[in-house]
């Protein structure tokens, strides 16, 4: 049964599509691994299956959700990125996860930048946050590369997470911040110059 009605987003190297049943083994592999420790894992097979089903159902309930990140050329999956807001989330979250071994290529940056732009430009979002475990340094670094800033005043999910607030749409409209993100992405896609810093995801 195809996951219809979920928009497809293309970027330089990636195509983002709704989560399909045939992608489940890739999801399960990550969520049964230590990689998922900041996302409620590791999970057993039953828990991983139920969470994956919920990822699909989230689209129906909220009208938005998480996309599966595919390589445009090979269709291989690299992870997921999108919007996430279960019942107890104080605000709409922009979230991402990259499979173990697929980090370090800027895929999360490229995918998350694209989904954020989609939510801002196509869906009228005026902002979003990311809830990140304070020990999840790779994700905190990615949030900062995306221009998000720690918001100490914002309500958290359960007190154990840090809230990173994404720049508002106007802060990404032709600004130096937006150009910097796009330059970093383009350097991954065409590595004439290596990006500076220690990008992980």
């Amino acid at each position: 049964m195809p996951t219809r009605n979920i928009p497809v987003i293309e970027t330089l190297r990636l195509v983002l599509r709704g989560p399909e049943p045939q992608d489940y083994p890739d999801f399960k592999a990550t969520f049964s691994s230590y990689r998922s420790r900041f996302m409620g894992g590791p999970l057993n097979a039953y828990e991983a299956w139920m969470l994956y089903a919920a990822e699909i159902g989230h689209w129906n309930i909220r009208g938005f959700g998480m996309w599966m990140i595919h390589d445009k050329a090979t269709d291989e999956t690299y992870g997921m990125a999108g919007g996430w807001q279960p019942a107890k989330w104080p605000e709409r979250e922009i979230a991402w996860i990259i499979w173990p071994g697929k980090g370090g290529h800027g895929y999360a940056l490229e995918a998350t930048h694209a989904v954020r732009r989609y939510f801002y430009e196509q869906r009228g979002w005026d902002g979003a946050v990311s809830y990140i475990d304070p020990k999840n340094l790779d994700s905190i670094r990615l949030a900062e590369r995306l221009g998000a800033k720690k918001d100490k005043e914002a309500p958290t999910i359960d007190g154990n997470d840090a809230v990173y607030r994404h720049p508002a749409p106007h802060e990404l409209d032709g600004t130096q911040l937006a150009h910097g993100i796009e330059m970093e992405i383009s350097h991954y896609a065409d590595p004439l110059f290596k990006p500076k810093g220690w990008a992980i995801d």
């Binding site: 049964m1 309930i61 009208g63």
Partner: protein, 173 residues
């Protein structure tokens, strides 16, 4: 965002239809009574919310899943009936639940009979089980009324010690 392919089926008094966000209050209220927490307990609501998402996604993953059982006369969401088969489950299960205030009127068996008929006639299945907690006397009685028999005990992936009831095969109904 509509899910493709969730059929609506009916009995005399009930409609079995796709779950929707409007069912969340009834669903969360039921879960709260199961766990003895207040209906507006945030964690219970969160769990109910994710549970509803998973119920919807189940249809995409398997092509079948749980319906909401709606009472025709009132339009109220009376419970849930349908099929459950996540990874780690011993087969496709026929399940039924009634929300608070809808017990005792034969709705569960009416919906379960219809769902089983759908499984055998429309989905072409041959066999069906129900997974029931050993202290759930009402469900056990209902399974037995449906002709199901206690096949074996099983520990679910959530760690619950439960019974597997085997329904009569398709050819025997």
């Amino acid at each position: 965002m509509t899910l493709p392919g969730i059929p609506t089926i009916e009995t005399d008094r009930l409609i079995l239809r796709a779950p929707a966000l409007a069912d969340l209050d009834a669903y969360a209220g039921f879960l709260a009574s199961q766990r003895a927490t207040p209906a507006d307990d945030p964690l219970t609501r969160h769990t109910a919310w994710l549970g509803m998402c998973a119920d919807l996604g189940h249809w995409n993953m398997r092509g079948y899943g749980f319906w909401m059982t709606e009472e025709k006369s009132s339009g109220a969401t009376a419970g849930m009936t349908g099929f459950f088969h996540p990874e780690g489950w011993p087969g496709a299960e026929l399940g039924w639940t009634l929300f608070n205030g809808f017990e005792g009127r034969g709705f569960a068996i009416e919906a379960a009979r219809r769902a089983r008929e759908f499984a055998y006639a429309d989905l072409g299945w041959k066999r069906l089980i129900s997974v029931i907690a050993p202290d759930n006397a009402r469900s056990i009685a209902l399974a037995e009324k449906l002709g199901a028999t206690h096949e074996r005990d099983w520990t679910s992936p959530t760690g619950d010690k439960v019974r597997i009831y085997r329904h009569p095969d398709a050819g025997r109904l």
